[in-house]
């Protein structure tokens, strides 16, 4: 992959010169948290922590129209998807997108996802962990793919910029003069030193090795009941998790007319109706069963199917769940390293 240098002071100029591609979205501070918002290059918080919602909101909006229908049949709604530049995507979130890519582009590719993915330029930015990040344990503290450009801190006055796609190359060429190819030996050293310092900053101590067997062995554990009693079935964990992709489909009708829309909206397996089948038989009537599904999916099942967990260590469930059910407390409890659910 091609790597270039960009002076930090030129970042704003660069973002301005690519603005013709689409609207710029970047992390903006909201209270004591951050959210991806449309913004001018001036207002971007370059030291932003995790955003409330991950990048999935760009590829699978919380609610969108799949089809319009009338007497003639269904017409897909794919034409008004905007082009966007998403700046400031952290490695774990890009890793989350790579997992969604597998789900949505293999086996019956989803045109809605693919169209949005194509029209969204992803410019990654390296970050420093806070007390809830554990991407070092999930192997997602750096990413090799899934972005168009990736800017890494070096601890000095320039970024190292990875060109990850031909779109990334096009964007770079829109302000080619700002980039330089002469990367000196010291520059590389500065970069690796910065990485070493970063690696020391992780505080969450979580061991995910051997998780599939641990889940298999604890399938009937009482822990699930205890967790189930606690869970409020609020669905927040699914909303914020970068790799939760479940959705529901609802049709709407215009009053007294044979036309309307088919819409898709986020759904969560922690909600009661999720697994109901005809006759009211619910395969997962208990919260404990539904949570077991959620976390086996994050920490076990995906390992079986794709060789790595679908948890990317972003820490969102750690900061979001009001009753402290999260990847950390769960892994610790199942490994019997610490008791969280009494």
């Amino acid at each position: 992959m091609r790597i270039l240098k960009l002076k930090k002071k030129d970042l704003k100029k660069f973002l301005e010169s690519i603005s013709s591609f689409g609207e710029l979205w970047a992390p903006v501070k909201k209270g004591n948290r951050w959210a991806f918002q449309p913004t001018a290059p001036d207002n971007i918080d370059l030291d932003a922590g995790r955003t409330i919602l991950p990048l999935k909101k760009f590829m699978v909006p919380q609610k969108f129209t799949m089809f319009k229908y009338n007497k003639e049949g269904y017409t897909p709604e794919l034409s008004n998807i905007p082009s966007r530049i998403v700046f400031g995507a952290h490695p774990c979130d890009i890793a989350g997108l790579n997992i969604l890519d597998k789900l949505f582009t293999e086996n019956f590719p989803d045109p809605y996802y693919i169209e949005r993915r194509k029209k969204t330029a992803i410019i990654g930015l390296s970050c420093l962990p806070d007390e809830f990040c554990f991407c070092n344990e999930t192997g997602t503290d750096t990413v090799e793919e899934g972005f168009d450009l990736f800017l890494s801190e070096t601890g000095t006055d320039f970024y190292l910029v990875w060109i990850g796609s031909s779109l990334g190359d096009d964007l770079m060429r829109m302000a080619e003069n700002l980039f330089s190819e002469d990367i000196a030996f010291e520059d590389i050293q500065k970069f690796t030193n910065w990485k070493k310092e970063r690696a020391k900053k992780f505080k969450v101590n979580i061991d995910l090795t051997g998780m599939p067997s641990i889940f298999e062995l604890s399938l009937n554990s009482k822990i699930w009941d205890k967790i189930g009693e606690r869970c409020l079935a609020c669905g927040s964990c699914s909303m914020v998790c970068p790799t939760c992709n479940c959705y529901d489909v609802k049709d709407t009708v215009e009053l007294r007319e044979c036309k309307g829309e088919r819409n898709r909206c986020w759904d969560s397996c922690t909600l009661h109706e999720y697994s109901l089948v005809a006759g009211g038989h619910n395969f997962r009537a208990n919260r404990s069963d539904r949570l077991r599904l959620w976390y086996t999916h994050k920490l076990e099942s995906f390992i079986g199917a794709y060789g790595k967990p679908s948890c990317v260590g972003c820490g969102r469930c750690l900061v979001t769940c009001p009753v402290d059910i999260n990847a950390y407390t769960l892994a610790k409890t199942l490994r019997e390293e610490e008791v969280f659910f009494k």
């Binding site: 049949g73 697994s275 089948v277 076990e300």
Partner: protein, 288 residues
């Protein structure tokens, strides 16, 4: 892999339903109705191929979409048949539709029965309630390709004669000498029932001419049926991986995207809905 040319709907958009016309409908029981549909575009009718045991996503515009098993056999092309139980929103709206009305269809989806593996084998097909819908497809397919299969047993149980799906069709099959068609009702409240009275499990003792090593069984019915039927099949010494079951899960997409049908790493819509008993034992949550 899936051959896209047979798939209903736009190939570049797996969610886009293709309009089909209802050509016939009638009641099978008090709450199950039979529907026969045909693509509105006549040329599509003959290219639409599916395997027994697969399902379609059926849409009623403005109401929604529901997965329905295909009840017809690909050996009789041109028409697709469904049995619909009136349980809620979409199914109820289908009951309000008449001949010539149009519905949206996409599919077929799911793995279906492993037809190639079943060839040359003896078959025991056990159905109860709405389980007749997918298993009728397999049964008709096997009968239409009769020379490809060994002995065929059909065991069909219902609460009472009125509750038995396709009872007329199955009565007629009792005449066939190339099929062991065994029907039973728990209770005969009509006094005119020509077949057995008793639980579907009581039919098993009449299964005689099979070699369990080369026999496959296919079961589909209400959850309560599985336990007892499985015991009977194991008594017959049918290997667990040769017992096939059609499982039901909530499904919103049918194509491995919405997550509703997931059981651990298994997508019921892609990897199922047909599973072997061996799969089920290895995946603790597949049934119950």
């Amino acid at each position: 892999m899936i051959d896209n040319s047979c798939i209903a709907g736009d190939r570049s958009n797996p969610f886009l339903p293709e309009m089909m016309r209802i050509v016939r409908r009638f009641d099978l029981t008090s709450d199950v109705r039979f529907f026969q549909v045909r693509p509105t575009e006549a040329s599509r009718a003959l290219t639409l191929y599916y395997k027994p045991g697969t399902f379609m996503m059926v849409s009623n515009p403005g109401v929604g979409e529901a997965p329905l098993s295909i009840s017809s056999t690909p050996s009789r092309p041109g028409l697709i048949e469904f049995c619909v139980r009136n349980v809620g929103h979409v199914t109820n709206s289908l009951f309000r539709m008449k001949e010539n009305d149009e519905i949206g269809i996409r599919g077929p989806y799911g793995n279906g029965f492993p037809i190639e593996t079943l060839k040359g084998r003896d078959l025991i097909i056990v159905m109860g309630g709405l389980g007749a819908a997918p298993l009728r497809s397999l049964l008709l397919y096997a009968l239409d390709n009769r020379d490809d299969f060994g002995e065929i047993y059909l065991l069909h149980g219902a609460k009472n004669p009125h509750e038995m799906l396709f009872r007329k069709e199955f009565y007629d099959m009792m005449e066939r000498d190339d099929l062991h068609c065994m029907l039973s009702v728990d209770k005969d409240d009509t006094g005119k029932w020509p077949a057995k009275v008793g639980l579907v499990t009581s039919l098993f003792k009449e299964i005689k001419h099979i070699d369990p090593k080369t026999t496959h069984a296919a079961i589909c019915g209400p959850p309560v049926m599985y336990r007892f039927v499985l015991q009977e099949l194991l008594k017959l010494k049918i290997p667990k991986h040769q017992i096939l079951m059609n499982l039901e899960r909530r499904m919103k997409c049918g194509v491995g995207k919405c997550g509703h049908c997931v059981v651990r790493e298994v997508y019921t819509c892609l990897d199922g809905p047909v599973f072997s008993y061996w799969d089920v034992l290895n995946m603790k949550e597949l049934i119950y």
